[in-house]
């Protein structure tokens, strides 16, 4: 087996091992954290889980037409005040 291949295998074992160890610890730490917060903290109005980063499904509190109108108004306002 080539030098590079043995290095690559070593790296895989150490790397995947570590990734799993780290994330398993994180799973338990997270569960513990949620338990502690749930026990000691007063109940608060919880936010339901939402899509991260994409925010594609943001609640449509404003209908698209209104948003469009406001978008145009803002664009118009900007176009007047921008250099």
């Amino acid at each position: 087996m080539s030098e590079l291949m043995s290095q690559a295998i070593d790296l895989m074992i150490a790397g995947m091992g570590f990734v799993f160890v780290f994330l398993v610890i994180l799973v338990f730490a997270t569960l513990l954290m949620s338990k502690i917060i749930g026990r000691f903290a007063p109940p608060e109005p919880a936010t339901p889980a939402r899509t991260p980063r994409a925010k594609a499904s943001a609640p449509a509190a404003v209908d698209p037409d209104t948003a469009e109108a406001i978008k145009k108004a803002i664009a118009q306002y900007r176009s007047r005040h921008k250099k």
Binding site: M1, S2, L4, M5, Q7, A8, I9, L11, M12, A14, G15, M16, F18, V19, F20, V21, F22, L23, V24, I25, L26, V27, A29, T30, L31, M33, S34, I37, G38, A41, E44, A46, T47, P48, A49, R50, T51, P52, R53, A54, K55, A56, S57
Partner: protein
Amino acid sequence: MDKLLTLWTGSGLFNITAGQVVMIAIGLLLLFLAIRKGFEPLLLVPIGFGGILANIPEAGLALSAAENAVHIAKPEVLAAIAGILDVSYEAGQAVTPEIRDAFKAAFKDADYSTLSMANAAAQDFGYANGMLYNFYTVVIGSTIGPLLIFMGVGAMTDFGPLLANPKTMLLGAAAQFGIFGTVIGAALLDWFGILDFTILEAAAIGIIGGADGPTSIYVSSVLAPHLIGAIAVSAYAYMALVPMIQPPIMKALTSEKERAIKMSQLRPVSKKEKIVFPLVVLIAVVLFLPDAAPLLGMFCFGNLMKECGVVERLSDTAQNALINIVTIFLGLSVGSKLMADKFLDGQTLGILALGIVAFGVGTACGVLMAKLMNAMVKEKINPLIGSAGVSAVPMAARVSNKVGLEANPQNFLLMHAMGPNVAGVIGSAVAAGVMIKLLG
């Protein structure tokens, strides 16, 4: 007339090489893919444009002052730089291609102080660093660019779905097999004599499997800066192709019945949990993997700014003005590494080939891990969300949802897939830290 001749001999048409023509065509292709096909345009528009700029003949936008001076090759300047770089060249000697190659090799091997001295000498003679070279040095050479992007991504990430079901983090761990499997793949190519790679290069290529742009750029800037162009292009292109790469693998590894598994709705997650979670991740980094501190530290910082609710100004800036500014410069800087003589190389083809392997292996391992977990626990998870563990946020989660809907039109997996999706970001940052620790 003299002056017109100078203009003509200094023009692109007079000097352009075949390699530069090809690279400009590649730059235009990247722009086409970004603009018409929607391939990760935020990065590929600046990368493609930067690639074209980097290949403008005679402009030297991606070269250091010393490299520009060697390109112009005035005898006295060349002699001064040769002295610093320890290249054997006498003032007045003809500048043969061999001598140019000797200079190039010397630039590649020189250490930090020597390069600084060579640049200072060239600047004494009036040469300047190219614009893109400066961008690269400031934004990527210092590693600050990818870290700030990571901070902004942190400020846009919602860990809610992950907190509601933390065991899906394991899917994000399994999918990192794509990273290390690709390192093995590179070693195989090397073993069979198809291409030559060092372990540093193999590791940098592997990180494409992390399916996370800033992590890829960060790791390759540390381990193999000369490959950063090919690695970044490969990473962003395949992230854009996730909706084509993943579904066949997902379907091959799962039965119709598995794909139709409905998962129970996620529990609501409290604000406090969301605030504390980035600190829990940070403490884990402190205790177990200091080398992941820059990446995960900035990621957690961005997320804490978002969730804590008292620094909205800063969070908003991190998600908008700052990340946009950095993205412009990061893209142009990556583009500066698309120079013909560095990019048009067998290694680049190898990187593109290995990149798709990386995505495939990661996808498969995520799905298989989900099936393994189902074999061990009572409450079944839909194995389709395993593929989201590769990251490629949020595209991979959407793919899970879409394939799930095909199997069962009432099956909404998006939220469930976001858990492993963001866990994949953490997983590949951890893998990056391990690689830098062991090799860097």
